[in-house]
């Protein structure tokens, strides 16, 4: 077994580039429920030492790092854990805003293999807003110890996107994960994301609202998601649309994360 091998070379094709983000070709976001191992995966890929620990809610800011795989340079964005995209706390807002408006090339949703059903709620919501998704089913070793058997092919078939089993702590499965990320980003793997349909009336209402939102906030990604939130009567989204905060949100996602907080979080004063 190769446990606790955080520092050894996992793959020859992978070059960890740490904080070096001068030039990158693609942006990959790491999303998922709290405490599923996003930061551990982030560290394994970038060689950085983002603070990790066994409790939900450690990562409260966006951490960014870089890696190179098959001669393509990636910027990897580690997001705070979130149970859904409808939530209100500041850390979850950071995750949601980046997924919606940061336009990552690929979103990797990290799932806890020991709690597939609960984790799927977020996965289904992410599939609502983007088709370029790869599922990383993490903690496969823990699931095996608990006697849980994961059928990755069934998961992948049902969701319509690649689902790869990984153990972020040891680096198992990272190669397959990166191949899938590369494939989805370049288009060699085509995805058919499952979208929970809802009633025909609901679909019609969404379709009617989307052009109105495009008019109110030109160029905003995910008008469909905003339409659904407006139908839901989400006060936050209503406010963002009327005050024009939506436009600045979209622009803000292109900038590096809040530097001051990020420094404290990353350098481990925690």
């Amino acid at each position: 077994m190769s446990h606790n091998c955080e520092s050894c070379v996992v793959l020859s094709e992978l070059e960890r580039m740490g904080m070096n983000l001068d030039r990158f070709d693609r942006v990959v976001a790491l999303a998922g429920n709290p405490n599923t191992g996003k930061s551990t995966l982030f560290n394994a890929l970038t060689g950085l030492k983002q603070h990790t620990g066994n409790w939900p809610g450690k990562t409260v800011t966006r951490a960014e790092g870089g890696f190179e795989f098959n001669k393509v340079r990636y910027k990897l964005v580690d997001l705070p854990g979130t149970y859904s995209l409808l939530s209100a706390s500041h850390d979850e807002e950071i995750a949601r805003d980046f997924l919606l408006f940061g336009r990552p090339d690929v979103t990797v949703v990290v799932m806890d293999a020991t709690a597939i059903e609960r984790n799927l709620n977020l996965v289904l919501q992410v599939l609502e807003i983007t088709s370029r998704v790869v599922i990383a089913v993490n903690l496969m070793d823990e699931a095996a110890r608990k006697g849980i058997d994961i059928d990755l092919r069934s998961l992948s078939r049902d969701l319509g996107v690649p689902a790869i089993g990984v153990v972020a702590r040891t680096g198992d499965g990272l190669h397959a994960l990166l191949e899938a990320v590369d494939g989805v980003a370049s288009g060699t793997i085509s995805t058919k994301p499952l979208q929970v349909a809802g009633t025909p009336e609901f679909q019609r209402a969404v379709a009617e609202l989307v052009p109105l939102i495009d008019q109110a906030a030109p160029g905003v990604p995910n008008a469909r998601w905003i339409a659904i939130r407006l139908l839901d009567g989400d006060a936050q989204v209503e406010e963002a649309l009327t005050t024009g905060r939506l436009a600045s949100l979209v622009a803000g996602q292109q900038k590096a994360g809040e530097r001051f907080s990020q420094k404290i979080a990353l350098q481990g004063a925690q």
Binding site: H51, L120, K146, T243, Q267, G268, A269
Partner: protein, 460 residues
Amino acid sequence: MSTAAAAALQRAAELRQSLGVNFRDETVRSLYSEAARIAGRAAHSSGSGRRDFDQRIDRIVTSPVLGLPIMALMLAAVFWVTIAGANVPSAMLADGFFWFEDVAAAAFDRIGIPWWITGFIWHGVYKGLAWVISVMLPPMAIFFPLFTVLEDLGYLPRVAFNLDFLFRRAGAHGKQALTMAMGFGCNAAGIIATRVIDSPRERLVAILTNNFVPCNGRFPTLIMLATIFVGAAFPPAFASAAAAGTVLLVVLIGVAFTLAVSWGLSKTVLKGEASAFTLELPPYRRPGVMRILYTSLIDRTLFVLWRAILTAAPAGAVIWILANIFVGGTSLAQHTANFLNPLGYSIGLDGVILLAYIIAIPANEIVVPTMLMVYLGTGMMTELDSFDDLRTLLVDKNHWTLLTAVNLMLFSLLHNPCATTIMTIYKETLSRKWATVGALLPLGLAFIVCFLVATVWRLF
């Protein structure tokens, strides 16, 4: 508001009406049933032994009767190991550093470098750094790995679970226990961690009270005072245990103040009830040894030490200058200390201690070294080369009593946070008002508490 936005909102409201009241529930329900269907196909369970084991442990460590005592015991054990383990290396580091100071200063004298350059570099800046490193490095190098082990095991959410009923009664959020635990490392980090709290009101309560857990910058002060005042009063075999008990008591007082101030805020300026929340208890996981050593030693210990060194060097220089510029036969440091003395006396401390706290606003780490340097610089004693001299300096030459030690511990626990933390409060709240409150509320409280303790103490 643009007309396009208004049109979109209005149409959305109409459509919401036409969809009927149940469509939201239906959407959520279809999401959940879809998730259950997919999970049922993808995950198959074949019995589980691990889960039972976790639950058995949880039944003990989160039990209403045993939960809190187990927590206190674990904390006491961590402090005891820290204090008992740090004693010898601290003394050895101090011996080594001060031996080198003498050698280097003598060498400078021999080759004819002016006395004030030698004094400034070796007896000012270097001495300050030497104290910071020998007082801080050993306890941090022991405390942080132990704390990280607890964090990696998954114990922190259990702490939050155990303390939830207290925070709820104080009108605060149960996750405040998590941000409080982060404050042990660094209050600035603890304040950023409050982002996990959904409600703005409860988040503000957590931000304003985070200061009442002693951060690593203040731990060495507490440990030093507990060791030389409380520990020394016991036979050597029990000295470390007594000191650890004292530090635990101070931390518990801090938690009590956190709860009391949270309660006070929730009843007055930040009125409101505690909101409900869910917190997962993650499975217990085996901590990774190499990772713990890395995060706790490189990330935390060296990072914090480096920050201390960066602030201690200029502070050492400032003190040396204050102590060596004389006006009317008395040094500037002495003038300032004399000026602050009445105020210091009224709260059971003295002028030098207050001066040290003013100089140490950028970083709490350097309070003790600053204090010592001012005592030394004001000509009350010329040599301080070992931990044994420390007690002599404080008790015999500067008339410290048990009251001074007790109140200094209380003051250190309660007083205003360091400049970085105040800045963080501002960045997180974007409000000058709350940053000011975050600085002055603890400071005011520290003065009041120390004044009351000193007054009552002197009555008897």
